[in-house]
């Protein structure tokens, strides 16, 4: 972290707040804020993570390879990529896995990823900001039990991923049409005990997080999330916005446009009317909080959350509530699970375009593929949550700076970094969607 410029209110007019290497985010990014007197002249979230060109390298691959290849976009949320890709391929091939044990297992492993990813963010990436530590390992010197309980909850999420998916990072058991092997009922039962423990930890996490000191910030963003009747949407549904938009994944391209700006190796997404929007826990909570499972709903009430939460700093509480929900949901699935007749349904390729949208831990993740009659991928488009959130994060940064002008540079920089971490940006994800151009060949 560095704070260039004179810093004090009486000094020359230009003041620059910058962090060249953002810590405790997934991937490589930087932040730059320039003040002219007391007005914010420029705010930039810069993403310099090198592009990996997934959309280009998917061309010519088999449609069945998409879940294994796109998982490699992100080691923190591989299930999200696998789920959006299999949904899109099934959509192209006119197959629907929308109920029964195969659907349940997909939702179960997705709950595992939410638990793993949210535990990581709440305890290891976000909490140190509130308690004044550089990271969780430093925090553990004074709060070892708290960090250990966060790690144990994370482990429970990972154990769901490992049992259903084969391993925690880049699971191997997800395929277009279902799974390679489905677990037995007895195998799934072994997850009950760790998940019961995680549920208790998650409830304690809500109470603990609710008592953290939050700056009084209210941000009015348009919010976009998946929505499914009767359930807090995770792996299937229509897309809805707080402002009243409602469309299926197939219409995503009509409602969201991407643009390329110089400061970022990730495309920026906007609504087609030009407006910015936010995806992630705050959006999901605002659109579906009435559909939380009972303990999660009660924990949210006790934590003082209303039907929506407009303070991005309190997203840590919303993530904790989603942790409770994900544990309850996973336990309910395990309880009712009956082994399916076959681990997958047959999927025959046809020349078509398919769309898939699911809720990654950090927000809506959209995939679109065009395939030919042999199932070869002709075109791919992937819009990850952090690409969608970049402009909203910059708006938050601007607002936070305007509210905190009197903080000394170092504390202002920290407040700004925190405003970015509020949205759990995954820069590794966001960067991988540029089409390839080469500097030298």
């Amino acid at each position: 972290m560095s704070a260039a410029g004179p810093g004090g209110r009486e000094g020359p007019i230009t003041r620059v707040i910058r962090t060249d290497y953002l810590a405790r985010v997934e991937g490589e990014g930087a932040m730059y804020v320039r003040l002219e007197g007391r007005s914010v002249a420029e705010v930039k979230l810069r993403i310099y993570e090198p592009p990996r060109f997934f959309e280009a390298l998917l061309r010519g691959r088999a449609f069945t390879e998409a879940p294994d290849i796109t998982a490699r976009i992100c080691g923190i949320c591989p299930i999200a990529y696998q789920m959006s890709s299999v949904r899109a391929m099934e959509d192209a091939c006119e197959v629907a896995i929308d109920h029964g044990p195969l659907r349940d297992l997909r939702r179960l492993i997705y709950c595992g990823e939410w638990i793993e990813s949210h535990s990581l963010h709440v305890y290891m990436l976000h909490a140190p900001d509130f308690l004044g530590y550089a990271g969780a390992i430093e925090m553990a010197r004074d709060h070892r039990e708290i960090v250990e309980q966060g790690l144990q909850m994370k482990k429970a999420g990972n154990s769901v991923m490992a049992l259903v998916g084969g391993r925690e990072v880049h699971p191997i058991n997800i395929r277009v049409g279902g799974f390679y092997r489905t677990p037995t009922r007895a195998e799934l039962q072994t997850l009950s005990e760790p998940l019961q423990g995680a549920l208790q930890t998650a409830l304690a996490t809500v109470r603990w997080a609710a008592a953290l000191p939050f700056p009084d910030v209210q941000r009015e963003h348009e919010l976009l999330a998946l929505s499914e009747p009767g359930s807090y949407a995770v792996d299937l549904g229509e897309i809805r916005s707080a402002g009243g938009l409602e469309f299926g994944p197939g219409a995503f391209d009509e409602h969201v446009v991407e643009e390329h700006v110089e400061r970022s190796n990730a495309l920026h997404a906007r609504l087609s009317d030009g407006g910015t929007y936010l995806v992630g826990p705050l959006a999901r909570y605002a659109l579906s909080s009435q559909l939380l499972r009972p303990l999660a709903a009660e924990a949210a009430r006790e934590a003082g959350l209303g039907p929506s939460c407009a303070n991005p700093f309190r997203s840590i509480v919303v993530r904790a509530v989603e942790l409770v929900h994900a544990c309850e949901e996973a336990l309910a699935i395990i309880e009712r699970y009956e082994e399916p007749d076959a681990p997958a349904v047959e999927v025959t390729p046809r020349a078509s375009v398919g769309h898939g949208a699911t809720e990654a831990p950090r927000g809506l993740l959209y995939h679109r593929y065009e395939i030919d009659e042999q199932g070869t991928i002709l075109d791919a488009k992937i819009v990850p949550p952090t690409s969608q959130n970049q402009l909203a994060i910059e708006e938050d940064l601007r607002a936070v700076v305007e509210d905190s002008l009197d903080l000394p540079d170092e504390r202002l920089a920290l407040r700004c970094e925190q405003a970015i971490r509020n949205h759990d940006p995954c820069i590794s994800c966001a960067t991988h969607f540029l089409k390839l151009t080469v500097e030298r060949g």
Binding site: R24, E49, R72, A134, E148, V169, E262
Partner: protein
């Protein structure tokens, strides 16, 4: 413990998905104990506190895809007593090394709004193509227990116990029935480096080569067998060109299949 200087550990990221460094945070039962034994002096994903200077052990994730990173890895090497490359990106160039096989014109014809904003190299290369590497740990992703073994071995001053035999050996040890012999399922196990514990066959799936080539891979024999099982040349190109496409043996096997396909 705090009074005796502990060995310092740094974790570096290049082009990657973050999954291999996450494996360190996934050591939920061991992480805090490890932090007692070593000083985690640079690990940006986990902490904003960075210790300047040199490090006893550097863990490097990711491949080299930009001119800036090609310089940065030199700096990392200078500041590291021991440098360990982890994961398929760092040991073979990763999935992003598929660009190495692409016709540049074909890739540039994929129209992009403002290509001038992007700077990248035309290749993705492993760490060892740029600097001396003390140990390479294979895998996409790596196996976290192997990572602990490698760190522990370097702390103890011994060679890590990481076996370079094939996945087949792991299937035998695990008691998994061979999916290729019993079910005719195409499987890269015979030519793939052990380490995952033969995960895929245990899930009724053929190995797809996440851990790269084993020590003495006979890819020609495997390719012939896969063709008997119904794979065509295009399928063979695909199976060898995934996360370890840039590893020598897989690159050669994929290129051979591509050449046969072109000659048809």
């Amino acid at each position: 413990m705090a009074h005796t200087p502990r060995p310092t550990l740094a974790v570096w990221k290049f082009a990657s998905c973050d999954g291999c460094q996450l494996s360190l945070l996934d050591c939920e039962d061991e992480l805090l104990a490890l932090a007692d034994r070593v000083e985690i002096a640079y690990f940006l994903e986990a902490s904003s506190a960075a210790v300047e200077g040199t490090y006893d052990i550097s863990i490097v994730e990711g491949s080299i895809t930009t001119a800036h990173d090609a310089e940065r890895i030199q700096e990392v090497r200078r500041r590291s007593r021991v440098l360990i490359a982890i994961g398929a990106c760092a040991t073979a160039g990763g999935i992003q090394a598929l660009r190495n096989f692409a016709d540049v014109r074909e890739f540039t014809s994929v129209v992009y709004a403002s290509p001038d904003y992007i700077t990248t190299l035309s290749t993705s290369t492993p760490i060892a193509a740029h600097v001396a590497v003390d140990f390479e740990l294979n895998g996409c992703p790596i196996e976290k227990r192997q990572l602990l073994e490698v760190i522990g071995a370097h702390l103890a001053g011994r060679r890590p116990r990481v076996r370079a035999h094939s996945v087949c050996v792991e299937c035998k040890r695990r008691g998994t029935v061979c999916v290729m012999v019993a079910h005719g399922t195409p499987c890269l196990g015979p030519v793939t480096h052990a380490g995952c514990g033969a995960l895929c066959p245990a899930y009724d799936r053929g190995c797809f080569g996440c851990y790269g080539p084993m020590e003495t891979p006979n890819t020609a024999a495997l390719s012939a067998r896969l063709q008997e099982l119904g794979s065509d040349e295009v399928d063979l190109v695909r199976v060898y060109r995934t996360f370890n496409a840039g590893a020598d043996a897989f690159r050669a096997a994929g290129d051979a299949a591509a050449d046969r396909d072109a000659a048809r």
